[in-house]
Symmetry: D2
Subunit: 343 residues, 4 copies
Amino acid sequence: MKYSFKNDYAEGAHPRILEALLRTNLQQQNGYGLDEFSLAAEQLILNLSKSPNSRVHFVSGGTQANIIVISALLRPHESVIAADSGHIFTNETGAIEATGHKVHGVPTADGKLRTDDILKVLEQHTNKPHQVKQKIVYISNATEVGTFYTKRELQDLSDFCRRYNLYLFMDGARLGNALTATGNDLTLEDVASLTDVYYLGGTKNGALLGEAIVINNTEVQDEFGFHIKQKGGMLAKGRLLGIQFHELLRDNLYFDLALHANTQAMRIKEAFQEAGCTFLSDTYTNQIFPVLTNNQIDKLSANFDFYVWKKVSEEKSAIRIITSWATVEDSVDVFIREIEEMG
Amino acid sequence: MKYSFKNDYAEGAHPRILEALLRTNLQQQNGYGLDEFSLAAEQLILNLSKSPNSRVHFVSGGTQANIIVISALLRPHESVIAADSGHIFTNETGAIEATGHKVHGVPTADGKLRTDDILKVLEQHTNKPHQVKQKIVYISNATEVGTFYTKRELQDLSDFCRRYNLYLFMDGARLGNALTATGNDLTLEDVASLTDVYYLGGTKNGALLGEAIVINNTEVQDEFGFHIKQKGGMLAKGRLLGIQFHELLRDNLYFDLALHANTQAMRIKEAFQEAGCTFLSDTYTNQIFPVLTNNQIDKLSANFDFYVWKKVSEEKSAIRIITSWATVEDSVDVFIREIEEMG
Amino acid sequence: MKYSFKNDYAEGAHPRILEALLRTNLQQQNGYGLDEFSLAAEQLILNLSKSPNSRVHFVSGGTQANIIVISALLRPHESVIAADSGHIFTNETGAIEATGHKVHGVPTADGKLRTDDILKVLEQHTNKPHQVKQKIVYISNATEVGTFYTKRELQDLSDFCRRYNLYLFMDGARLGNALTATGNDLTLEDVASLTDVYYLGGTKNGALLGEAIVINNTEVQDEFGFHIKQKGGMLAKGRLLGIQFHELLRDNLYFDLALHANTQAMRIKEAFQEAGCTFLSDTYTNQIFPVLTNNQIDKLSANFDFYVWKKVSEEKSAIRIITSWATVEDSVDVFIREIEEMG
Amino acid sequence: MKYSFKNDYAEGAHPRILEALLRTNLQQQNGYGLDEFSLAAEQLILNLSKSPNSRVHFVSGGTQANIIVISALLRPHESVIAADSGHIFTNETGAIEATGHKVHGVPTADGKLRTDDILKVLEQHTNKPHQVKQKIVYISNATEVGTFYTKRELQDLSDFCRRYNLYLFMDGARLGNALTATGNDLTLEDVASLTDVYYLGGTKNGALLGEAIVINNTEVQDEFGFHIKQKGGMLAKGRLLGIQFHELLRDNLYFDLALHANTQAMRIKEAFQEAGCTFLSDTYTNQIFPVLTNNQIDKLSANFDFYVWKKVSEEKSAIRIITSWATVEDSVDVFIREIEEMG
């Protein structure tokens, strides 16, 4: 059996999470997110982010979070701007459009939106009422290609959005990885103060499933539960989400797990660098995209699973390596040795 | 702390399910429902229902299952017929309409649709193309009011639907309770052969979450995954659903748990009967609706939680008692004693 | 060729409208409703209704008006309450649901909603957030069955809606007929002050096509044009609508035409009354529903076209007679004679 | 008053159309497109396009036609590919997305899609079921920038679409202009045999309003009326559309009007060419985009209205000149003289 670096959801949950589920299993709790664990987990997030007026809702997955947040915030004629590598633009089977809204996909060099990108979209849509009205800016942090936003960059986006009356929404499926990356200077508190809505990903950071949607903008908090229920995102046993986030956040576990994933990725990155490889993009989170020869790819494929991401020439392709909270250090050691010997 | 009979999702999962999650936790698996547990669980369902050409998809919850199935099957101008007590008509925040489709809510005496009810809707919609075209008949088994369909009744609906070119879709959030009810003569095999689509509920029968959608009609199986993904129903760690259904179905656990719930409900029902109570409806599954005096309700409320369901006069109301796989026999014993003494 | 009483859109436009189109035909005008005729027609409506802060938009037809208004006003989890005879509930192929919203259809005796009907719907939907939230009350005046609202009735609905934070929306496809009916005490000014939105029907009252949507509630006027464009309701040559409404409203033509239709219907009604017929409902607008024997129906069908509306017994059915601005008085004379002789 | 070259819908209808409306005005006709004029106009189109098995439906405008056709043809997870200058991508306020479907906007040099453009989109969407499935190719002929498709080009698109199981849909809001352009070698018969659906525009070619949707693919003809009604596109007085198309198509009027528009545009184009101007694109239909100095634009603006379309440098911009069936030859003469003298 090959060891897999294909994604960050190949294993189950961190053992402490399963223990918490066991420990609480037979306690009778309210359904639909009103259990005491969900309420306590909400409080932990408000405390961590120093944002007491925010509201938290737990849902099963990232696409669901995106659907619910975006459709709840927009009126029918409004649209959302995203990088064209953004998950909502390219990897959710048209989920946002299925709720009636256009997504503008903007080409970027590194998966990160900048104010100029957004401004260009606004300038191309001034023919009212014949064109959609842009209302949400969607960013992912970490991005789908492994990069992250600095505090300066997020501040710029936030200032721009407030000036142009746009909501800033951060997809944080890998927010843990972003906040623990080498070079990151952004805190959860910053995220809470600079975005209107974001979510804190659990699925890719130790949970069985679950994303914590945090609504900072108090003007869009009302009646949010209706949207969760309507879109099929409200679990009868909401405790399942509450218990997991409570366990992840009651101490530093959430960030420890993300850091572990990043560290393993950076160890592998260094090995590729020392082997003289270049990379598709310069990443510091849990995804790396080294460019290898076909021969090197064949060799590494013997014992390890990963995606061949993009052909760069007849002889070379970039591969994608993803690590996670569960990545086994010993397996990384073996992989590094094979990198050193791949020729 | 009062013991609760308010719903059948107040506890976590059956211990065997948590054990199975623990046992398999660190095995690397494919995501998005392609893990080996989901594939094995699908095979168990096909075997149990003797329906080898059916296809199975696991999703998180009932509303999600309803959204995905109905929107996948209908063209824009088509509608679905349900009892007006049906979950999709009254308890899903307009989830089906949010996908663009009308739900016709038909009044029924006992939560069960009959062919005459359906025919009446068809006859009221003959002004083409000015009225929607009915295309799905949605039934719940057990129903939202605790009743169940006999084989004869399901056969009639199925024959009718085939004659009128309608799909028959069964919401089986409590299918286990229906199939193990006293007086039931329907088998899973019958359900598979008489419906186009149904689902087997896990959330209310021992799982943390999860419903198994079973598509029997081979003409509507293609490309179903797109709809799951688009509606936010595809879990990255699909293993979570696969492992649970595999554990529930690899022996008789699923049906044992449902039977336990029914048995406890019937014990309580008998106690109310002996105390001279009448009932809102005559049920044999895990829900009962005894009519009590306000005074009796007050007394029972001291130690037990339940919903006061419907006022029937100034002095009397019906309450709703729901049992589950987790209902503790000893607590039922205490409750029965209190019923005997409620005066 | 039989003379038809089947509907009120069997002929083209009132001659003055065609003349106005001819007269202005080659004037170059702005597109999309910004032509001078549309602007002038808007002003006429504001003056007539003494509602200077209202805003007017012209669209092609009633279903389109309903789609645009309702989808513009509602957030995704909100619904609309209508009589179950309401056009949006039963005769628009699920147009409202296709924009994502549930329509609650309430049985009524005479096609008119009353506050008790609405209250009952509200009381059945208190389980937040599991049920849709009611936000619009939709009424038709005249109704689909020929009845109309008195000032008292509209005042009650308006008061109720304001108390419960609901929008009151009047479908006025036949508003002219309502306002000129015998017994009516409602004025256009009342309609403007008591509703949030209404429309003034042109299609069934002398125009080739066109409804004038009037938005009285200033809080929902913004960005309305986006919704018209998005739903396909914005005509490039908006002048076509502006010219017609300008012609209808620059003197009393609009009301004269409606009164003509009502008068002819009442003449026919009287003839049926004198012949001893009963009626399905007691109407004073341009629709009547006399109950005839099968034999009588056969006789009248020889020279006249009308719908057999509803079977009331083996021997009798109600028919529907509709008159319009174009109904020829001589043809009514002939029809009346045949009624007198139908036996 | 300046003479306007801003668009091709500034005037009313061709006089023969108004005459036809007058002539037929008081004939009683069936509603909803079942009048004898609509039926006769359908037959004329089938004859002209030698496509007896096609079906024709008349609707009010282009956006409405696009909404109805696309939403009727697609299942929820399917998408449409268009040029990024395509009307549905950029100028319909997200109308297609509002029906739930993604539009892929492809950059093109000249507003025309080619098979390579389409193939590239397909190749970027192979990650099933995580990405939408492409199902319709939408092209405009003439395009939004004045170019047209040759027979070879349409044949290539058609072959490609059939090979890849895609529907080919032609927006023919300006189809008359395309088919009468200098250099065009495509016939209406070709269009009917090479596309699955197209429409023949009336609004921009002599009618007050109206587009004739022609469905050639017999597999998607059924139940089309439901979609028209649901999307608010079914006129009660469908005769209004039928009469106009009947008049335009009973002899060569439709093509004569389009040719007139093209001829006037080409006269103006020649004048700009002789004045040494370049053009944004090389067009032969009723739109031209000459590049002028700011000074020249100012001079021409004194007596004529047109849009300044695109800034090309600090000193120069392209303007857009549109002619129509109604463009007055004398006004064009004056404009040409001013071009000659603009310096």
